[in-house]
């Protein structure tokens, strides 16, 4: 079908921070191509009289009142993080500047 090639896989992998190389690229491209190729069968369905939708549930306007509820404790949150320096979660340094 040719919906997905190795270039597409490289692009999506880069966006998803996945490191794929050589053999794996080929393999995944072929698999994804098969899957998406199959989904392409849907294109054959006549949809002229079907309105586009983003949800299949017959539900709209699910809202909550602006009422505060309990949060997790700072301790709990910090325990969940891979690295911490109380009261913060720590990550490798990110700075948005050039050079």
């Amino acid at each position: 079908m040719g919906v997905v090639n190795t270039e597409t896989v490289k692009h999506v992998a880069a966006l998803a921070r996945l490191h794929l190389e050589g053999q794996a690229l080929e393999q995944i491209a072929a698999q994804l191509d098969q899957i998406l190729g199959y989904v392409q069968l849907l294109q054959k369905l006549p949809t002229d009289n079907v309105a586009p939708t983003s949800h299949v549930l017959a539900l709209t306007n699910v809202l909550r009142e602006d009422t505060p509820a309990a949060s997790l404790s700072q301790d709990t949150v910090l325990t969940l993080a891979p690295e911490r320096h109380p009261p913060f979660v720590t990550v490798p340094k990110v700075i948005e500047t050039s050079s």
Binding site: S54, N61, L63, R64, D66, P87, F88, E96, T97
Partner: protein, 487 residues
């Protein structure tokens, strides 16, 4: 060469709801780091976000105040990107069915007003906050802000100068404050701004390459960054170089914009409909109710201040820029029935004081009654203008009423006529030259002597009274002298 700048602004405003956009965590600036989070805003598995009704209604409120068309149906989408301040690795935002489109905000240029188009307004959640260590290769994350409701207001590229961009921001901030949906505190990050700018020859119809500028923490930074960027682009165009389509960061310390490392595919956010949030149908009755309940907006108040209180367009403009300032003016004006005097005290000494100390109005304790009282004390002659200024300074400094300051200090005007006569006499004795000048018809000499008298009274004499007194005494003196000569 002369270029025209084409500027657009993207403003993010935090809605000051009690709880976050999709969960019950408190929206509370200054809380202990990572103390206001829960499985929903941290994006733990198996949770379900539920939309905050207040944020929905306030969003509509802002859209209507900005004359925008609220969509019949809106939905949320996931915007995917990786950054350590984004716990879910996607932001719940709106893509192709935003809350509202096609609004406008009118700014007052130099005398002529101009309608600035608003492209769209949408709701989204804020990200956490990052702090960068100076001595270790780590960044610190505080997730309290993750999930706080944000309203993004995107203008059309209708702004043609940095001044217009500045006016747009000031007016938008005023509107948001009048609507009471946000405190718009830039220092706390509840109002944030990105801008984009391109240059073109005035004869060009198409737009030039657009540069986006981020990291603008104050309205002043927006102005400075735009000024710098317009110069930079003009220079490149003059040299025949092309402008790169890119995102630049404003470096306030070095006063220049710098290219952000160009991220390939940065714009590939792979939006898709948020499956956890069903669409929202916006009922026209609800929209009508919100429209009917809109408060008086800055532009309307400006008009009213001019017609009701006979203020000049300029005074009305300055007094309505901040809701709290406008309220202080109006309450005081109602108390003392002297709107012009109230306007002068607020725009002169009060704003000067706040600017000098870099304070917001709510940082000083001040009651309308106090200003009305001060104006009364000037009117009944208890205080001279100079003394009133001194008292007003102390009122602002100490947060107590003028009458108390007048009583405790020896600030009352000298009413003792004997004392005033004594002062006048001593001035006349001491400056015979000026007395002689006056008798020869030099009017300036009188002003000089009054000045000396006021100085001796340490500003506590009433200048009119001092003038009258000296004039009477000098005239008597002159008559006596001329009388003697004719004898």
């Amino acid at each position: 060469m002369e270029y025209e700048s084409v500027i657009g602004l993207e403003v993010h405003v935090q809605l000051q709801t009690k709880s976050k956009l999709f969960c019950g965590c408190l929206v509370n600036f200054g809380a202990a780091p990572n103390s206001q989070t829960c499985p929903v805003c941290l994006g733990l598995p198996g949770v379900l976000p539920v939309f905050n009704r207040q944020a929905f209604e306030w969003g509509i409120r802002v859209a209507l105040a900005l004359d925008a068309t609220v969509g019949r149906v809106m939905k949320f989408d996931r915007k995917q990107y990786f950054y350590p301040d984004l716990p879910k690795n996607y932001q719940i935002s709106q893509y192709d069915q935003p809350l509202a489109r096609r609004g406008a905000l009118t700014i007052d240029g130099e005398g002529n007003s101009k309608r600035i188009g608003i492209h769209r307004i949408h709701l989204e959640e804020d990200a956490g906050k990052l702090l960068h260590s100076t001595d270790e290769p780590v960044s610190f994350v505080d997730f309290n802000r993750a999930g706080v409701p944000l309203l993004e207001i995107v203008s059309e590229p209708d702004l043609r100068s940095t001044e217009e961009a500045y006016q747009y921001l000031v007016e938008l901030k005023a509107v948001l404050q009048y609507l009471e949906v946000s405190n718009c505190n830039m220092e706390e990050g509840s109002l944030r701004c990105d801008t984009n700018v391109s240059l073109r020859r005035p004869t060009d119809i198409s737009l030039g390459a657009k540069v986006e500028i981020k990291n603008l923490n104050s309205f002043r930074a927006v102005k400075q960054a735009l000024e710098h960027e317009i110069k930079r682009q003009a220079l490149l165009l003059d040299q025949g170089s092309a402008i790169a389509l890119e995102t630049r960061l404003w470096d306030a310390k070095r006063q220049r914009t710098e290219s952000m490392r160009s991220k390939e595919d940065a714009a590939d956010y792979r939006y898709f409909p948020e499956p956890d949030l069903v669409p929202f149908v916006i009922d026209s009755n609800v929209v009508e109710q919100i429209q009917a309940a809109l408060p008086e907006l800055p532009a309307q108040r400006r008009q009213r201040f001019q017609s009701v209180y006979q203020l000049s367009a300029y005074d009305a403009h300055v007094l309505t820029q901040e809701r709290t300032l406008a309220e202080l003016f109006e309450r005081t004006a109602c108390l003392c029935q002297k709107p012009k005097a109230v306007a002068n005290w607020i725009m002169g000494d009060l704003l000067a004081y706040l600017n000098a100390k870099n304070l917001a109005l709510d940082a000083v304790t001040l009651r309308p009654e106090w200003l009305a009282q001060l104006i009364g004390l000037v009117d009944d002659g208890t205080l001279s203008g100079t003394m009133a200024k001194e008292v007003w300074g102390k009122v602002l400094e100490r947060g107590i009423e003028p009458a108390v300051i007048v009583r405790e200090g020896s600030l009352q005007q000298i009413v003792d006529v004997g004392l005033l006569e004594h002062l006048a006499d001593s001035v006349i004795r001491e400056y015979p030259k000026s007395v002689e000048d006056y008798s020869k018809g030099k009017a300036n000499a009188l002003m000089y002597l009054v000045g000396q008298g006021m100085k001796r009274s340490q500003g506590k004499a009433n200048p009119q009274q001092m003038t009258q007194l000296l004039k009477r005494k000098l005239d008597e003196l002159r008559e006596r002298i001329t009388g003697r000569v004719t004898e």
